[in-house]
């Protein structure tokens, strides 16, 4: 890491994040990388872990997958690549292999964004080794099968940090499924995942993420996306299981001409979960466009924040923001914050936000078909959340639908 970055990280050690409850990092254990053994076969992954992986769409048998990376706590334990057109490996391996890779670090996410990015950087320098994964699709390649990556927390009270770099070279297409989960015995932990995406000219990435954490886990992903000319980035996020808190606010820089961004979030708040999920897109390239869509359902005592910020900074850009929420319990809350900012003429930006309850008329209609009120409500809620996930090739769309259906089982 560059000395100047390290200095910045040190200064930001105590810097609170803009959103989300502040977390005392001292409460968590910093386990070293290499605590868990490296595996050579997917089948060596412990059975219980395999089950957890399946629930978040990561297939240990690697059927119809182009490659896999699994990080357990702080250690990259498994990585394979089935195809020569895409690379997937631990960051430590990648940094050895590619000298140029360090130039991509902390360019899409500022190292001093907050204490979580700072902590990730400081640990990288302390241990002298980076956790997280590196993914790269070679120029012109189009891999239809997705790569899969998993961040798994196996030990109690662990602070897991990961620094991921994803590069789609010119005119390549890349599909990634990531799942995050915790072991059965884990009740409390902290996950910080820094992800930096770089899409070169004409590249396309779809990134589908399913989270299934334990009830006392705090999650602070930090994501930045650089989008080049005619490149497209589609982000799908699914979380329906209880968690202590998640605060995530990926920022996309659409500096390329005709670059496109789609953020879709499906959020089911349960128990005492605090979900603060947003997205920001800076439309700086001529003709660039963005869509941020979220569907949120709050149950029990959950609190959901659905944020979105679209900034049109040049002419001929387009943006649309949509947050729809269903409040299912009086003790829960949905807070929709759609923000639009236009600082050029000739731009088109709109938003649509609605928070409400399940329509009684719809429930009655379904009871007149023989469903009970509960069955009807559940069918309506599932229908509300199961929005079509755009941008995926047909095989992956089917697979993603399955993942989504599985996530909605618990709602």
């Amino acid at each position: 890491m560059l000395q100047s970055q390290l200095e910045k990280a040190k200064k930001a050690k105590e810097k609170k994040a803009l959103y989300g409850e502040d977390i005392d990092l001292e409460e968590f254990i910093k386990e070293e990388a290499g605590e868990h053994e490296t595996l050579t076969e997917g089948s060596e992954i412990p059975k219980k872990v395999q089950e957890s992986l399946l629930k978040v769409g990561v297939d240990p048998e690697e059927k119809e997958r182009a490659g896999t990376f699994i990080q357990m706590d702080q250690s990259g334990i498994y990585s394979t690549s089935m195809d020569e057109s895409v690379e997937i490996m631990g960051m430590n391996v990648a940094l050895d292999k590619y000298k140029w890779l360090k130039d991509y670090m902390w360019k899409a996410v500022p190292v001093d964004a907050d204490k979580y990015t700072a902590q990730t950087a400081l640990r990288e320098s302390e241990i002298g080794e980076s956790s997280g994964y590196f993914i790269r699709s070679l120029p012109g390649s189009k891999e239809v099968f997705p790569l899969q990556a998993c961040m798994f927390i196996g030990d109690e009270k662990i602070m897991q940090t990961a620094h991921n770099i994803i590069i789609a070279e010119e005119n390549s297409e890349l599909h990634i499924i990531t799942g995050c989960a915790t072991g059965e015995d884990v009740s409390s932990a902290l996950h910080v995942g820094v992800s930096e995406f770089y899409l070169k000219k004409g590249a396309k990435i779809t990134f589908t993420m399913v989270h299934n954490w334990a009830e006392q886990v705090d999650v602070r992903p930090r994501t930045g996306i650089m989008v080049g000319d005619n490149a497209t980035f589609m982000n799908n996020y699914i979380l329906t299981s209880p968690v202590k808190s998640i605060q995530s606010y990926p920022t996309a820089y659409c500096t390329g001409k005709n670059s496109r961004i789609g953020f879709q979030s499906i959020l089911g708040g349960q128990k005492e979960s605090i979900l603060d999920i947003g997205g920001r897109v800076l439309l700086e390239g001529e003709g660039s466009s963005a869509e941020i869509i979220s569907r949120a359902v709050s149950k029990d005592q959950s609190q959901l924040y659905a944020r979105g910020h679209l900034a049109g900074r040049t002419q001929n850009v387009k943006g649309h923001l949509e947050c729809h929420g269903l409040v299912l319990s009086d003790d829960s809350m949905i807070y929709a914050v759609p923000e639009l900012e236009g600082s050029a003429t000739e731009l088109e930006m709109s938003h649509e936000a609605a928070v409400g309850k399940i329509s009684e008329e719809e429930v009655l209609y379904l009871t007149s078909r023989g469903l009970t009120e509960d069955e009807a409500a559940s069918m309506i809620v599932k229908g509300f959340l199961s929005m079509d996930i755009k941008g995926l090739p047909p095989e992956l769309a089917k697979e993603t639908k399955k993942m989504l259906d599985m996530s909605l089982e618990g709602i």
């Binding site: 008329e361 719809e362 209609y365 379904l366 078909r369 023989g370 069918m379 309506i380 199961s386």
Partner: protein, 256 residues
């Protein structure tokens, strides 16, 4: 052959939001019989429909509803439907996110996790001119008037109820599709079977009666000001209404 009484309504009074809408309603529908309910707008036809269905807003303040020999007055809509009552709504709500196909699976008792719709239901859908793309659409969302009605009938075909109420089944349907709909209503009501062999019964609400050109009814009831003012042969009653209007028709009834 002993004719079985399927639906029996005795001295029913119904209140909606504190307002008395129906009073002293008596209605008896035998197994295999189709009744039609006529009446001007606001006479209480839809209220009777909803009260038989058991929607919570429609409070029964007097009388009873007996279905298959059992008092269902206090049962929920779900319970009534599970006993064999089916309905086709005039203006059903759209249910965003719920695909028609998924609802059909539930209605026909298919496992909702099955990827495909059973061949039988698929065939019924084809008869009603619905293709897979249509079945993948959200229930009633952006459907045309005719599509709504065909979808209601298709759902009933999947459900196979013993007693079916149709609220204005032909309103908003273009002429060529009325016959298509009527064919399937006839199937639902066992009309292709011989008189004594019919098991299914129906109650058709209509204020223009156009559908009766295609579906034969056994008895017509005229609802006026919250009461059944007249019952009798559908053709004769329709004739009277055409000539004399609803009020005149009721006068006729009194004379007879």
């Amino acid at each position: 052959m002993v004719v079985k009484l399927l639906l029996e309504i005795n001295d029913l009074a119904v209140e909606v939001s504190g307002r008395q809408v129906l009073e002293h309603i008596d209605l008896y529908i035998d197994q295999g019989e189709t009744h039609v309910l006529l009446g001007p707008n606001g006479s209480g036809k839809s209220t009777l429909f909803m009260a038989i269905l058991g929607f919570p807003k429609y409070k029964v303040t007097n009388g009873e509803i007996i279905f298959k020999g059992e008092d269902i007055t206090d049962l929920t809509t779900t319970e009534r439907v599970r006993k064999g009552i089916g309905v086709s709504f005039q203006n059903p709500p759209s249910v965003r996110g719920v695909k028609l196909m998924d609802l059909l699976k539930v209605e026909s008792g298919q496992d909702p996790k099955d990827e495909k719709l059973s061949p039988q239901i698929k065939e019924l859908a084809n008869k009603l001119k619905f293709d897979q793309r249509f079945l993948d659409r959200d229930v009633n969302l952006g459907f045309s008037g005719g599509e709504v009605k065909r979808s209601e009938i298709l759902q009933l075909l999947a459900q196979k109820p013993d007693f079916i109420m149709f609220d204005e089944p032909d309103s908003g349907v273009d002429i060529e599709n009325v016959e298509l709909l009527a064919d399937q209503i006839n199937v639902l009501l066992d009309k292709e079977k011989k008189l004594g062999m019919r098991k299914k019964s129906g109650l058709i609400i209509t204020h223009l009666g156009y559908i009766l050109n295609f579906v034969n009814a056994d008895t017509a009831n005229v609802l006026l000001d919250g009461r059944i003012a007249c019952s009798g042969n559908p053709a004769e009653i329709m004739e009277d209404i055409r000539e004399e209007g609803f009020k005149g028709c009721v006068e006729c009834c009194k004379v007879n």
